[in-house]
Amino acid sequence: MKIGIAYDVVRDEERQIVEAIRKRGHELVPFYVPSMVVKVNDSSQEKLDRLDFAFERCVSFYRALSSAALLEGKGIEVVNGYEVIRDCGDKLVTTIRLSSRGVPVPKTFVAFSRQKVIEAARELGYPVVVKPIFGSWGRMMARALSEDDLLDIVDFRESMPSPYFRVHYLQEFVNKPGRDIRSFYVWGEVPVAIYRYSTRWKTNTALGGKAEPAELSEELLDLTIKAAEAIGGGILGVDLLESSDGRVYVSEVNAVIEFRNTVRVSGIDLAGIMVDKTIEQIRR
């Protein structure tokens, strides 16, 4: 097969995917997005022709979104595609997609002004978590333990130049047992999951959260699949929060997955699985 990979930085994950493609004897067509010029209404760009599919691997959200749209515009199947990247990139939309399909999500309120944020938080009850609707690696997420905290956070947010910080996404704080779960979905299956332990309330491995292998119950495997199907992508990272009341919530779904720590602690060749399962899917 002729397999493309759109990327901007070669991380461990991209190395592993490239190696998996080459090891299986497929032709690799790398698209280094920062060097790309895509002629939108010109069909003569041969490199884009006859690809069986392409992996979207840009670490930059906007490059991932744009390059996926451009490749799809040329008739190439992209994993994951534009709509999936868009819906996962916007936490507000992710929450709507999950909730409307009956996937349990933490109680979430969205408000658009300082006064309404305060009213919403009083109804939600403290602590509350305030998240940027676009954001990654836990950046700019804040926990307010009180109304004073929340007012400080909102003041910071409202002075940010990006207008999306004036969309205030508030969520109940889920009291986790010092960890959350990253569960990986690949075309209908859940090949691997990890716990991410941290003494902080944010458990992102990008912030120093420690990865350990996780064996998921049937219930959590089903929840992963249900969440992924609500979003619609082929390869997704689903974040699960175990609450002290015994409920499990889906907090986020990620469309360009990072998995180096998962591979390190589990020994699972996730890149190989991604390549094999996507080829199976494309051949159907």
Binding site: D8, V9, V10, V18, R22, P30, Y32, F61, W137
Partner: protein
């Protein structure tokens, strides 16, 4: 990636020599052994070169 021949490129910071595999992908990162700079491999036309690696931006990550 499979090991293959190496080529020597100049560090844009200290002008030291940095070995880069011939099958490197554009965007691969290398560290200069002399000055420690994080460098990114790219092609200027057909010419392989190194530049300072891009800094992490607000929209990076999952």
């Amino acid at each position: 990636m499979e090991a293959s021949g190496m080529r020597s490129l100049n560090c844009p910071v200290c002008d030291g020599k940095v070995d880069v595999p011939e099958d490197a992908l554009e965007g691969e990162l290398f560290e200069c052994g002399s000055c420690g700079a994080q460098l990114e491999y790219y092609l200027e036309g057909e010419r392989p070169k190194l530049k300072m690696a891009e800094e992490v931006a607000e929209d990076w990550g999952e």
